[in-house]
Point group: C2
Chain length 337, copies 2
């Protein structure tokens, strides 16, 4: 494949100067119709395509945003991405998705690459919101917004959902349904969300005046379907006198795994165990027993994050903001019998 043609080649073929070609591209009204036609014909003949690197080098900034996400298989993140996409689109930018797969090294590689590319802004759901890589991006001047995680300092904009409230909503719902022995399923506690949802669960539990030891924490190693199945086995291993009558899972994948494990074992949901999930992914409503779940405004999260990153890129007086959205409980058959 021959070298792609440049404005210079177009100029030569159209017998005009290089500046005129550029004008055709950027200020066509300044060019006489005749020469414009000539130039456009030459472009077609040569299959001319602007070289974005050169434009960018000249302009100092690119026309792209990027979202570095933890897990492209988790519908939560793809919904966030979709929201960001909409915002990017209306700003005339492209959004690239980068999949860190929960690996700090890949995340770091992507962030470094994006900074080198001088993207307009980066959205990231980081493996660890306190990792130094994020501060490096900031220091290098690329706007960055943290999505679905928070940091105590105000070094970055962030958008997140109130997970303490979400945990509270879930457990209040179970308490109202009369449950007095509940399992909290999730982990590891290194994940802020796990801690927050547990804290909310405990708040609701205490507020209902129920004894601490009747809220059992079942720790998992990850938030996956497989871990949900394994948690199911552990729940069922609890002696029937002390066995919880309901479970609150930190996300829907766990809840789906739990549901499957129970139904494999011939138990019925919600009769034998009521289940509340978290995230309200599409598969939650589509499960054989539709899952009660805590819904987060996912698209809105992405949209707002993209807006913030653009504000940071464009407004010299930009102030960092921590946006916190409110979750909402969606009750379905898995708790309503």
């Amino acid at each position: 494949m021959a070298r792609a043609s440049s404005v210079k080649d177009v100029a030569a073929r159209a017998h005009v100067s290089l500046g005129t070609v550029s004008n055709v591209l950027n200020r066509p009204e300044r060019v006489s119709p005749a020469t414009r036609a000539k130039v456009e014909q030459a472009m077609r003949d040569l299959g001319f395509v602007r070289n974005e690197s050169a434009r960018q080098l000249r302009a100092g900034r690119s026309r792209t945003l990027a979202y570095v996400l933890l897990d492209a298989r988790n519908p939560f993140f793809t919904d966030v991405a979709q929201g960001a996409e909409l915002a990017a689109e209306s700003a005339g930018l492209s959004l690239f998705l980068c999949h860190s797969g929960n690996r700090p090294s890949r995340e770091a590689d992507y962030l470094a690459h994006l900074v080198e590319q001088r993207v307009q802004g980066i959205l990231v759901t980081p493996v660890d919101p306190h990792a130094a890589v994020l501060d490096d991006v900031r220091r290098n001047g690329t706007p960055l917004v943290i999505v679905d995680r928070t940091r105590e300092d105000a070094e970055f904009c962030s958008v997140a959902v109130d997970d303490v409230l979400g945990g509270r909503l879930a457990v209040e719902h179970l308490v109202e349904a009369g449950h007095t022995r509940v399992a909290f399923i999730g982990g590891p506690e290194t994940i802020g969300q796990v801690r927050d949802r547990l804290a909310g669960a405990r708040q609701a539990w205490a507020a209902a005046g129920l004894p601490d030891d009747q809220l059992t924490v079942i720790a998992t190693d990850a938030l996956t379907v497989a871990e949900g199945r394994s948690a199911g086995e552990r729940v069922m291993g609890i002696g029937s006198s002390r066995r919880p009558t309901a479970a609150f899972c930190v996300n829907d994948l766990l809840a789906l795994g739990l549901l499957q494990q129970l139904s494999t074992a011939g138990l019925s949901v919600p009769r034998d165990l009521a289940i509340v999930g978290y995230d309200d992914i599409e598969y939650a409503a589509a499960a054989a027993v539709p899952l009660t779940s805590v819904r987060q405004p996912r698209q809105e999260l992405g949209r707002r994050a993209a807006e913030l990153v653009l504000d940071e890129a464009e407004d010299p007086d930009h102030q960092h903001q921590q946006v916190v959205f409110t979750p909402e409980l969606v009750a379905r058959r898995s708790t309503l019998g």
Copy 2:
């Protein structure tokens, strides 16, 4: 935020020439340890980050691949992406994901942008494999591989799975289990996969000597959970004497929707209706009744596609190849009672 610093700034601060700075970056062994240390210190002081646009402009090519996919929410595509990622990583490249959301205009925008960025190569699962946008990319000299779709001409490399065979495997499995009235659920038929899987289904049906009219086609408008539910209602509306005893769904999302609809209606899978899905996504195994499904080597698909696109980018003697992988049936409870 002040302008990011350049090699020139670093050179000034380290009191060396700009060429030396470049050497530190690209051929550090040619620089004396003392000056190298000086330069590296200056880089740290200034928070220097290479400008990738400039490098790229100079080098004429970028260090990225991109995969333009139809639907980031469909685990099939994210698994393909993961395979591509692995291949990209071992070639030292970054992979960006672009989500067309099944919209030809977004797909075209992304492709145009990627060509302008002079990415090393593009993988794409196109809305329409015959659309002219693909030929435009080719004409502009960017290597492009079609993923999970095929074209009759040999203008592009492509990687796909034998969908006719997949359809045959699914229906052979049902026939072996003794079913003589089967529903084929899927659509629209504009999607090549739908046509191929149906063709395979019919082959297996005919080979078993079963009458045409006992293989009922239930057309859907899309391959989604919601459409699966609606198909479920239609299946159940068929008079019991003529109602199919098994269904083959063109993908797992349809199958999951169907499964949910049936269980909502109090029917049992596989007793009242056996179900075979397609894709073997994670949620298929995790459904309340684990789904029998046709598995495609998804990661392998992505890996191979990335390899082909790199070959096209690097080997002047590159020959286009149509790679076809073989699917495999995974039997689970939804057909095994």
